[in-house]
């Protein structure tokens, strides 16, 4: 793994995971039933991903970026609809962050990033209710 390019990409993915963990905490407060169960499952998935990324960063003799106490949400979350939209937004952010890992020179890291993108894109599609042609890419 080439640390010079890998570390910034890993830190960006870690930051996106931390933002997702915070955001799901907010969204979950407005969800019930199956949606709440899905949000809790996704929250757990992002916690596990955060720990994985932090471990990878430490292996490169770098300190993982600290979690922020508060993350600015893109819009006000006040009901189930806005909570669902937030979850989709969070997953889009995670997908974009992992796309950065796909551009590094290390082949294993590229694969790791690509597979993580698939998970995030699937979760985003669940919350959005539709698929996208180019997850993570704003202008392909």
């Amino acid at each position: 793994m080439t640390a010079s390019t890998a570390v910034p990409a890993l830190q960006a993915a870690l930051a996106a995971e931390n933002a997702a963990i915070f955001g799901y905490g907010v969204a979950g407060a407005h969800l019930t039933g199956n949606s709440l169960a899905a949000a809790e499952q996704d929250w757990t998935t992002h916690n596990e991903a955060r720990d994985t990324l932090a471990g990878m960063i430490r292996q490169l003799d770098t300190t993982p970026a600290a979690t922020q106490a508060f993350y600015q949400l893109p819009f006000r979350v006040h009901d189930a609809a806005s909570a669902t939209a937030l979850a989709a937004h969070l997953e889009d952010g995670v997908t974009r962050a992992y796309l950065g890992l796909v551009a590094v020179s290390d082949q294993q890291l590229r694969r790791f990033g690509a597979l993580a993108m698939q998970g995030a894109a699937q979760r985003a599609a669940f919350w959005r209710g539709s698929t996208q042609a180019f997850p993570g890419l704003s202008t392909p």
């Binding site: 551009a103 082949q107 894109a121 996208q132 392909p140």
Partner: protein, 184 residues
Amino acid sequence: MPDIVPRRRILLASATALPLLLATAGCRSSSLFAGPDPLAGRPPLGHNVLTLQAVIASEENMINLYRAAINGDSGTTAQSRTLGPLLAQHEQHLAQLRARLIEPTGTLATPSQTTRPSVSAGGGSASTGPIRVTTAQLRAAEHASAAGLVQQLATVEPALAQLFASIAASDATHVTALAGNGLG
């Protein structure tokens, strides 16, 4: 004008000596100029081009599968409503992949131009007559496509790797959508 004779001799000598010099040098452009020899034939295609050609052929095959599923005997209105948006996204994938393909003039045609892609999936065959493509076959094809793209992105340039990863992620969401989760 005593200096005319030597000058004329020099000019004559140059005119006769130049071809001789070129002949003894072999007159090969590759030995006179840096870079590939233009007379040596078609240069080999680069790895990115070859990989892109293969991915384009796979995407074309996927589109043919979707069209067969929508138009075939197994196609129902409800199924078409689900498959139509997914097909449209695959057509977007193909357009972007083709836009990235820059082949030097005089190169061989791409695999997609020389061979009609098979529309088989999950054990089907490209036989004559209507081709029945099931949702399960589409799911299998989407799953295989996502996995294949991840394999391919390891060795191509970063921008192309990101496009492959994004398309693979889209294919992965199609697998879920085809499972009947109401996406699409």
